[in-house]
Symmetry: C2
Subunit: 309 residues, 2 copies
């Protein structure tokens, strides 16, 4: 048996295509496209890659996307000042500050910036107020990765109500909001984490298992109840041949990819889980692409809410 | 075997006594006592009882407690105006608006009022921002009932880290914040609710079982793993003799209480659970008294934070 593949890339492509006429209709009706401002501070190479993806996806869908770059030497006050300007900007419906901010800004800087984004424009959903509204089941804008997972489950007609969902990982950006979204859809929800004893046994109780830890291949065959739906949120860049060898046999095509590139993107779920799961998101091509799509959906929602639709 | 009784009333009494010199020291140092404003709108008899308890406990501990009463005919704007005045008041460190507000104010009125309370004075912890800060593990002021449960577990030296906690009930004021507090103390946490199939089986996986549903005697003997810690947050006023009969045999002293008063306060946990649980909070005299004590603790914390201690 091999698990049904939940093709997040295909869904993301379809949603990206479907959103275009809606963005265009907004622009026609309101004399401007919905607008997204992306703040990028410093020179983190991975951040540049992520931001470029977001700019490209947004621009292609017809959004106005403004990339606001600041040097790594910018102060926290500079960033807060920019966010406040964008809060007041008529042209911008969504504001996203790319994480991480330069370390020199201090430990609490990032969350302080997130909290400064107006709740109506907080398309990443990372501010305290956005999180509180989600928990109280009156969400405005919800973190993109967990809402992408819900979108995928819905489109794949996977029932949530009455199921037992286990979320492995308790981060603010995935684990905790994911748990809340599943709870509000009437799942019984367990949040497990690095301090959970016998993680395998806890995971085996799941009808829907969401792995969001950031540990390559953590979720193995014996963590999964036969037929369960497994959602792999992990994106781990592996450069160790031994780790890749533990995931894929020598003959596997991904070994060739690894050997030619010297690195491989893998999920938190071991490939052998496909033998027992009922359905499974691949990495890459599963949850990842939906995150950007949900950012676009959030920006369009924010724009509509601002003009009172 | 009979479960150890977790005497919340005794702990609350001890904490109420211990807080007195701290309140007095604050008053001496800052030239005023820590101040709590309680807003009571309308004539709900149960609300009057609760508010009187809070006024009495606060006053006895040395707080300034101002009861701000408004008629049932007050408008939402009147209440919001009062809250804004209290937000700006130098004498008030904590603000509590007694729930429920009169129905005539509309469905969203209560939460709108809660959200208007300054986060630094939100001693009930019900605003979106307070909730978000809790979820993100940087709490300012946390809802009193769940934080009272944590206090009780700590004082009774019941370990939380690495245990499996099951919270039954997903309310904004108990279930969800309770789950977050247990999670942040490194429990593996399951949130179950009315839509959970086979609730008994889910509850039996708990090392720590928190019942916060509001259904008399819901948690029965077979819901509890032998030796588990059971926390009963339910407070149900039962007037049906059949229900009381299902909880207590005819010969039980509480039957006499019921017969003389025509009503009985009972928890969500069936008394027979005492035969299997390792420890159990009674109702009344368990979690309830701690709620008011935590309100006092929150008010003192708020006062200290405001003066920069």
């Amino acid at each position: 048996m091999s698990a049904r593949v939940l093709d997040g890339q295909a869904l993301a492509d379809r949603m990206q295509r479907d959103i275009k006429p809606e963005v265009a209709a907004f622009a026609t009706r309101h004399g401007r496209p919905p607008g997204l401002a992306i703040v990028l501070v410093g020179d983190d190479p991975a951040s540049h890659v992520y931001v470029n993806h977001k700019v490209k996806a947004g621009t292609e869908a017809g959004f106005r996307v403004d990339l606001e770059r600041m040097p790594a030497t910018a102060s926290l006050d500079d960033v807060l000042g920019l966010v406040q300007k964008l809060n007041a900007s008529a042209a911008h419906d969504g504001i996203l500050v790319q994480s991480p901010l330069p370390k020199a800004m201090g430990a609490g800087a990032e969350q302080k910036v997130f909290d400064t984004i107006a709740v109506e424009k907080d398309v990443d959903g990372f501010s305290a107020e956005s999180v509180g509204l989600l928990v109280q089941k009156r969400p405005k804008l919800v973190a993109c990765t967990p809402s992408g997972v819900i979108e995928l489950l819905d489109r794949e007609k996977i029932p949530i109500a009455g199921r037992h969902a286990v979320v492995v990982g308790r981060s603010d950006i995935v684990g905790k909001p994911m748990a809340m979204l599943l709870l509000h859809r009437d799942a019984t929800v367990t949040i497990a984490h690095s301090r959970t004893p016998d993680l395998a046994a806890v995971c085996r109780t799941a009808d829907i298992l969401v792995a969001a830890v950031g540990k390559a291949g953590l979720i193995q065959r014996d963590f999964v109840k036969p037929g369960a739906v497994v959602i792999d949120v992990g994106v781990n860049r592996v450069t160790d041949a031994a780790v890749v060898g533990g995931l894929y046999p020598e003959s596997h095509p991904r070994q060739r990819v690894f050997k030619s590139k010297g690195a491989l993107l893998v999920g938190d779920v071991h490939p052998e889980v496909a033998d027992v799961a009922g359905a499974l998101t691949p990495v890459p091509g599963g949850v990842g692409p939906l995150t950007i799509t949900m950012l676009m959906m959030n920006t369009l929602s924010a724009a509509r809410a601002r003009v009172g639709v």
